[in-house]
């Protein structure tokens, strides 16, 4: 995406494309750890969904489905808060790829 010069920007830092944080793939910030979902013990309590700061928990019809790695920063909150024993989300090592920048 071509970035505007200061003369091209809308007045007063207003964002005229609301919702465009979707384009900001925060998943590129992950550095070494990523959550892995294990469906078996999951009780669909939605704690992970509630705590995830990046809306990276994919829920369908009240059922925890998966993690959206485009936005997951690997913070580990979901794994920490998951109440099941054993955990339904565990943090695993991930090979670090150099990020190409936040926006596509």
């Amino acid at each position: 995406m071509k970035k505007e010069t200061w003369k091209e920007l809308p007045l007063g830092c207003v964002n005229v494309h609301p919702g465009n944080s979707r384009e900001n793939l925060t998943g590129t910030w992950r550095s070494g750890l990523k959550p892995e979902f294990i469906a078996e013990p999951c009780i669909h309590c939605m704690f992970c969904w509630l705590y995830c700061p990046h809306f990276a928990i994919i829920v369908e019809d009240g059922v925890m489905k998966a993690i959206n790695y485009n936005y997951c920063t690997g913070c580990g909150l979901c794994a920490e808060e998951c109440p099941t024993k054993p955990k339904s989300i565990v943090m695993v090592k991930e090979e670090v790829k150099l990020a190409e920048g936040g926006k596509k």
């Binding site: 970035k3 505007e4 920007l9 007045l11 830092c13 207003v14 609301p18 936040g102």
Partner: protein, 394 residues
């Protein structure tokens, strides 16, 4: 109908607010600007104001309400002083960064510590880099006139930047003068209708106000913000002229008093300029070729015009009612001395900090400055560049 009314400075701001009748007024009372808010509340209670009057729990909240209301597309005003302005600090930068044309009446007052409720310019000078336009008033009439013009300046499409209108705490805010109050309809006509560019209430065009900016956009946004205040000089000039044509009192960037043939000059803002003019008259009678320059606009700083007006002087004394601890001179001095730097022929410039915490400045003190300038004019020598006026030294 236009009328002459006995009003103090605070009442002139309230009176102008009643005439402008902004969509939202949000203010928290603090000495010496309390009476602005009080009078506005009375107007509201009497049904003389149609806009919303919001009494929040602090000045920080007052400015936050102003920002929200202005983002929603409203014409907005507030008033405060001193610690109140200091408490607004972070929100001031946001108002300017979002290019919201909020107008704030500031009864200028000293900052703590020690606690002091009297007039100096520490509050607005502290906020000088917040991105707001600064207008200063010598008397109640100027406070009224500046406040009305402030809306036109702030809301001009090339500017869209908030404006402070300063009036000296107590000296102007609480002194009654006979003020020419213009006709309500004429004032409304002069300021015209305000049309916001974006409005949070416009559901046909959804926007986000104040989102996060990373390293890739912050700098560009800041640069575009600066453009607003840099466009302001032409607008301030135009509005000042038009105000003169409409109401008979034209305004520029500064007032020059007996400067035509002057060889030395005193630069002083706000209420002290009145006393300064009397002192200049007396010094003139004593044979000194001295004049006075009273800045009205401090941000954007009219550096070229100011330098043109002062470059032929032999010596200039800049009087600041604020200090800038650790700096090479107080705020007005550094601007003026900087503005003169590129001129091959330029005056010696000295600085006096005066009147902190409302300390009186009298004709005799201005005459002291006049005598010092005369000595510099004759000898070409500056003994002390930055000093203090009417301070117990030894």
């Amino acid at each position: 109908m236009k009328t002459l009314k006995p009003l103090n400075g605070n009442q002139t701001i309230a009176e102008a607010t009643r005439q402008v009748d902004p969509d939202v007024i949000a203010a928290y009372p603090i000495t010496p600007s309390t009476a602005i808010v009080e009078s506005i509340a009375q107007f509201k209670a009497d049904g003389l104001i149609t806009g919303e009057f919001v009494c929040p729990e602090s000045e920080h909240s007052a400015m936050s309400v102003c920002i929200g209301a202005a983002s929603a597309g409203g014409r907005v005003m507030t008033a405060t002083s001193s610690q109140g302005l200091a408490l607004m600090w972070e929100m001031l930068y946001i108002a300017a960064g979002l290019r919201l044309p909020i107008v704030a009446g500031i009864a200028n007052r000293a900052l703590s510590a020690p606690i002091n409720i009297h007039g100096d310019h520490s509050d607005t000078m502290g906020a000088r880099d917040s991105g707001w336009i600064h207008l200063y008033s010598e008397n109640c009439q100027e406070a009224y006139d500046n406040f009305i013009q402030a809306f036109r300046i702030a809301e001009h499409m090339d500017v869209r930047t908030p404006v402070f209108v300063g009036l000296d705490g107590f000296i102007i805010s609480h002194s009654v003068e006979v003020v020419q109050v213009e006709d309500d309809a004429e004032v409304k006509k002069f300021i015209g209708e305000y049309k916001p560019v974006y409005s949070l209430l416009d559901m046909s065009r959804k926007i986000t106000v104040g989102p996060l900016d990373f390293t890739d956009y912050y700098f560009e946004h800041k640069r575009s913000q600066i453009e607003g205040i840099e466009n302001a000089p032409a607008v301030i000039e135009q509005v000042g002229k038009e105000f003169g044509l409409t109401f008979g009192r034209p305004y520029g960037f500064f007032e020059e008093y007996r400067m035509e043939d002057a060889e030395t000059a005193i630069v002083v803002m706000s209420s002290a300029a009145g006393t300064g003019k009397d002192a200049v008259d007396e010094l003139r009678q004593e044979g000194l070729k001295i004049g006075l320059l009273k800045p009205r606009v401090f941000r954007p700083f009219p550096y070229q015009k100011m330098a043109e007006a002062l470059k032929k002087m032999k010596a200039v004394a800049v009087l600041d009612r604020a200090s800038s601890p650790g700096a090479f001179g107080a705020p007005l001095f550094t601007e003026i001395r900087n503005a003169l730097y590129d001129y091959a022929e330029r005056p010696k410039v000295i600085n006096y900090v005066y009147g902190l915490g409302g300390r009186d400045i009298k004709v005799e003190h201005f005459k002291e400055v006049g005598a010092k300038l005369e000595k510099i004019r004759k000898t070409g020598k500056v003994e002390e560049m930055c000093g203090y006026l009417n301070l117990r030294e030894s």
